[in-house]
């Protein structure tokens, strides 16, 4: 009996470690795959997509709403000297600008019904600044939602989205770093 205690202890330890590791890693792996998928479907880095209306044929993210306009922008603030300048144009109905880090946390949301919103996104560890949000992780996704439950409203939302902006900048300059979209 005693000779099985060692293997049994190893089994319990490995099971617990594998359980914790899988839970810890799963969101990151899923998010990374989702970001790759979004990139493959044309969601640019540092630029809002011009979205198609969500239908069974165009959906790219689980549980998307066919009643909402979604514009996505992937960001990468790995360079601590950069920031992302974000602008959401005005929209008369519900709209929001939401920020998601690499762990799926919705770390900030700004509601902007009837008004435009401008904000800067700073790299992790940055000091707080007025008009800016500090991202908990270097990479993530910015998402604009607009209430647009029919084709006509969706077309109007697309027009409103032409002034949306998601741009990587140097923090002490306006020009975008080389290679940034």
């Amino acid at each position: 009996m005693k000779r099985w205690l060692g293997p049994l202890g190893v089994l319990i330890f490995v099971a617990a470690a594998a359980h914790v590791a899988a839970l810890h890693l799963a969101p990151g792996v899923i998010i990374a795959r989702a970001l790759d998928m979004l990139a493959a479907r044309g969601v640019a880095l540092h630029r809002f997509t011009t979205p198609e209306r969500v239908t069974p044929q165009t959906q790219s993210v689980v549980r998307s709403s066919p009643d909402l306009y979604y514009a996505l922008c992937r960001y990468d603030l790995s360079n601590p000297g950069t920031q992302v300048s974000v602008r959401m144009g005005s929209w008369p109905d519900y709209q929001s600008l939401s920020f998601f880090d690499a762990r799926t946390d919705n770390f900030a949301t700004i509601r902007g019904s009837g008004r435009a919103v401008a904000v800067r996104l700073l790299p992790p560890g940055s000091a707080a600044e007025e008009g800016a949000i500090v991202s908990p992780t270097a990479k993530g996704v910015i998402l604009i939602r607009r209430l647009a439950p029919d084709a006509e409203r969706f077309a109007a939302a697309t027009t409103a989205g032409k002034v949306d902006r998601c741009r990587l900048e140097w923090r002490d300059r306006i020009a975008a770093p080389a290679g940034a979209a």
């Binding site: 914790v20 009643d67 439950p149």
Partner: protein, 199 residues
């Protein structure tokens, strides 16, 4: 040699148990019930108000990453999901249902139909949801069926959905909904009307 093999078997078995249990509890294994989670249950409509927040536990985090990517935190929106009718039977595209309700404690709401993969079902009916704007103020109802009913104002198509669930989105939730959901929310009723070849 036997001792080495015993330890190897323990490592492999332990890794399989740990990985499998994590994926199962997080709802990441195929066929897992999409709504068997959450810390809020209002008449069978389930939600997890930790979605999107730093307070989300690892199981919620993994589940949301898979089934509800880019969901908003509760201060902006809450999401309830249900996959059974009022009598506790699984929702199926082989049946026809009456979905009915009234005003909701939120600035805007919608109910959307998803298949077991958490995707909109593959049809071209352009009828996969009802929202506050279409429902109007006060009491409302919609028919969920695989084919359009003859005399219904609001139709939600379940064509090609198979087993499905419904997600109730409540944007700009009233404070009472967040503090006392069971008291503040009267969720939609789901009454099965018939079942058969065309529901």
């Amino acid at each position: 040699m036997q001792r080495v093999l015993a330890y190897l078997a323990a490592i492999v078995t332990g890794a399989a148990i740990g990985l499998g249990s994590a994926l199962w509890l997080a709802g990441l294994l195929p066929g897992t019930n999409n709504v068997a989670f959450g810390n809020v249950d209002v008449d069978g409509w389930r939600s997890d108000f930790a979605i999107g927040s730093e307070a989300a536990d690892p199981y919620t985090r993994a589940r949301v990453a898979h089934h509800g990517l880019l969901a908003l935190a509760k201060s902006e929106a809450v999401y309830f999901t249900r996959n059974t009718d009022d009598d506790g039977r699984s929702l199926s595209s082989a049946c026809t249902y009456r979905l009915s309700g009234g005003a909701m404690p939120a600035g805007w709401w919608s109910v959307t139909l998803y298949d077991q993969a958490s995707m909109l079902p593959a049809n071209t009916d352009n009828a996969l949801s009802i929202d506050a704007g279409r429902a109007g103020s006060g009491a409302w109802e919609a028919i969920i069926a695989a084919a359009a009913p003859a005399d219904t104002k609001h139709w939600i198509s379940s064509r090609n959905a198979g087993a499905f669930d419904l997600t109730l989105r409540l944007y700009m939730p009233d404070p009472a909904l967040l503090s006392e959901p069971e008291a503040a929310l009267v969720p939609p009723r789901i009454e099965r009307l018939s079942c058969g070849e065309h529901g």
